[in-house]
Each structure stands twice: as structure tokens, then as C-alpha cells.
Amino acid sequence: MKSKLVSMAEAAALVPSGSSIAIGGSIIRRSPVALIRELIRQGKKDFTVLAYPAGFTTDMLAGAGALKRVEAVYEGLFQFGQSYNFRRGVEAGVIDIRDFSEVAMAARFRAAASGLPFMPTDALLGTGMAANNPEQIREITCPFTGRRLHAVEPANPDFTLLHGYIGDEYGNVQFPLVRDADDLDPVFAKGAKRLIVTVEKIVPHSEILKNPNLTYIPHVWVEAIVEAPFGAHPLSCDGYYDEDEEHMYYYQACSKPGNFAEYADRYIYGTKDHWDYLAKALTPERIFALSAR
């Protein structure tokens, strides 16, 4: 097996401006935040984001003016409120949006994961989403029952960016047994064209061999893997650490009135890499306070 371990900067360099990217995790959990920060640091832009529920990472890209389009089931920051940077972009007509329900968006990712050119669904009948998106949602008829259905287009992003728990240098990534939802990360991974994974910890391959049933991303799907402790911060990583409420309130205090630049200068452009970010965003005391115990 070949080592796929690279630095955060090398991983981000793989993703050109203008790419469509699927971002894993969910709203404020287990998204590859450090990798998104590095994309912004490198000045990448014009992204189309595909997500299940989008959240913090999508809003950061919007704040940085790097977001062209979103296809997802939700955009917001859950208990921290609205996704203000994103909202402003949509309201100004700068960000294109394609809305899907959870069943329908999951069907799109399943189609991609199975290599199918469409997936049937009856979730969107009669909705505004279908009415506004004839490009990706088309009416079909069931050949067995005659029922009216929609075909939805597969979600086939150029890159898939995930944050995970532990992995080896070859790209085998494992779950902890005690965890919250996997969201669609396993489906995203399975359907990925080019998959980049950041993980909390790189472990020896021998550790992976001990619990092969916990491997949800086998090495053969992976192009690059990056070690990034607290790589989802300020979001949570279930089983590892909680969301950083103080940091999120500061983010919203900047974003709500349109001062994302203040946040970005401090935590993105003002930090040279992930380690520098952690040094500026966390103290040892804070790390212990957030850690799951």
C-alpha cells in the first residue's frame, strides 16, 4: 500500500478554484474546517458546495467570497443561529442555490455512490424545489406501477472533503464505536471522485488491522490523508470534543453585522497554518474543557 499522507497545504493545493466540492459532516459537527480554512488561505474561490446539511464551512466560504453555488438540505448554524454570510450572498443573487429535501439529497449521493445516472424519488412531488430545478429534477413514470416520480441527478462533485477520527498513512479511516450520526460521510466517500480526508490522529496500520469493522473509508477510495488534531474546531467532533460555543458566538458577532473580515483576519488569514490557528484559537485549558470525557 502506498502512503497518501500529505500536509494540509499540499492537500488544499490539490483543489483548484472553480471546483465542486462535497463537504462532509453536518452543520456544526465533524466538518473538515481546517481544510476549508486552508483553501481560503490559499485564495481558492468559485466553489460549488454539495452538502447534506451545510453549515459553518459553507458560511466561511461565503464570507470569504469563495462560494458560487450550494446544493444542500439546509444552511444555518443550528443553535448559533443563521448562516449570515451565506444568506447575504443568496439574497444578493451572488450565490446560486439548489434546494433538496433530506431524502432527495441522500438519493443524489446514493446514485453517485452506486455509479447510477439517476435515482428515482417521490419526495419532491409538488414542491418548489422541483418547480425551480428542471435541470436536476425530472419527472418520470414508474414502469411497473405507472406512478409519477422524479428522477434526481447524481451528486458527482469534483472533490470530496471529509474530517474523520483516526486513519493510517494509507488512507484507511475508522469510526470510534461510540459516536453520533455519520451523516452521509460514508456515502460521500464511496461516491467520491477525488477524496481528501483530514483526521484527528494518524495511527499505525497495525491499529487499523485490529478493528477492520470500524473502517468506513478503505484506503482504495482515498487520494490524500492529513493529520489535523481538532481539525473540526470550532465545531464538534463526536466522541472527541464538543462545539466551542465561545468561538461560535464570536464568529456570529462578526458575521451577523457583515464583519466576517474581522474574524477571517484573526483566524484564517492571520494564521499561517493549522498549528498556528490552534495556538491562536485554543489554550490548553480550553482544549481540556472541550474534550469529550
Binding site: R29, Y52, P53, A54, A72, V73, Y74, E75, G76, F78, Q79, F80, G81, Q82, R87, V90, E91, A92, G93, I97, D99, F100, S101, E102, V103, A104, A106, R110, T121, D122, A123, L124, L125, G126, T127, G128, M129, A131, N132, R147, R148, L149, V178, R179, D180, A181, D182, D183, L184, P186, V187, S236, D238, G239, Y241, D242, E243, E245, A292, R293
Partner: protein
Amino acid sequence: MAYADDYTLNELMVVAASRELRDGDLIFIGVGTAGRAFTVAVGIPIAAARLAQETHAPNLAIYWNNLLSPDLSQIPPRLTQHHLTTWPTSAQLHNCSDKNDMLSRRLFDVSFDSAPQVDRYGNLNITAIGDYRHPKPRLIGCLAQTDHFAYVKRPIVLTDLKKRTFVEKVDFITSVGHLNGGKSREEAGLYPGGPWRVITDKAIFGFNEKSKEMEILSIHPGVTLDQVLAEMSFRPLTPDSIPSTESPTTEQVRLIREAIDPNHILLVA
């Protein structure tokens, strides 16, 4: 069975919601943000489900935040990630396909939904106000609320009555209710069903069996019909005689206060 004299509006809403739940029901509870939105989307539904379990529906189960049948006698002290991850539950549906498939296979009996726009036929909008391409404001998207109205047998809308919420026609159909009334829902290819009840802070509504228009079922104690109509941009069907919403019993209030939400985790605003 004695009715309580002393109860809060939230307690009344919990009891009203609880009465709509049946033994054996599987209930989908969505996610809420914070404050009143959390209480309406999460707090009242969870308290109602637990109250139903403690009273008339011992075999009722909920799905909430990827937890299927969490032990509602062990509601955690806070709802941060780690408390959710470790909440004792029958199943952590970590594979989101399971939840989606359960929805589209129509395994859920009841869902709770709230929305910034609800119209005469129970269609919901949580996506965009105004022009979809240049909205003001852009809202949160769709989540599973579309799927609830497509598949769940008895969706319940739980939201506060406000003139800008209860509109003649939603700007955007996120969730297909009774569409344009009559048989229009089925004609659009959806399963029969659609929204079942609308529980608000002032009154409870159903939908007319034939026309599918929203109609008042009961008005909360102390609220007048005029106060209800003042908070609606359309006039719902109004029966000649409108009953008063049944008050909570002393036992129901006691259960909510002492057993279900003693630490004020659920009914926060």
C-alpha cells in the same frame, strides 16, 4: 381527574400535543435552533411524547437527532454534542440512510414541524420569503420537513400564531400540505394524508375533510376568536360553536414539572 388551575402556555401546548399521540406511534421530532424556536420545534414535542408515554401511550417511541427511542427518563443536563452522543438509546441511527428510508417507507406516524410560513392548505415554507432567486430573507432550506409532509401519516405543525406566519399562500412550497385543497394533493402524485393538526399558542386547527381548508378545532382558554383571527392573514373555517382547548390536568402538570422537565432543558422559552 382534576383540571389544573395553574399552568403555563407551554404546558398547555405540551398537553394538547400529547393528546394527539397514540399508543404505538413512532414520532419524528426535528431540530430547533435556540430560545423559542427550540422550545417549539424540540422542547414541546419531546415533553409531549414523554407525557404520552407516562399516561396513555406507553409504547410510543421517538426519533430525534439520530437517536431512535432515546430513554426519555434520562434527558441529559445539556444538549451539547457529547451529551447527545452518550444519551442512552435503543439505537443510534448513525447511518442516515436508515432514517431517510424509514421516512420514505412511511414508518413514521407523527412528525412535528414548525415554519415561518404556513398557508390555508397547510403548505409550509422554510426556504425563502419573496422571490426564490432573490429572497428577502433567505431561510434555512428544507431539511426533512419536505419528507415529513410527503410520507408521515399525521404531521403536526407546532408554531406560534402570527399574521406573517399564517399566510394565504406560501411564497415557496417546501412541504406539500393539502396543496390547493380538495383532491389536489393526491392529483399531484403524493400519498394521501398531509398535515393533520396545527397546534399554536392560541388555538388548535385541523383541516376540513372535503375542502382541506384549515379549520379551527378549539381555542385556548382565555383567548377569543377575534384574537385568533387577528394573528392570521387568512380566515380559517370557523365552526358555529368552537370548543375551548381542554386544560391540562393537575397530574399532567405535575408530571411535566417534576418528572419530565424539572431542570428546564426542554421548555426554555
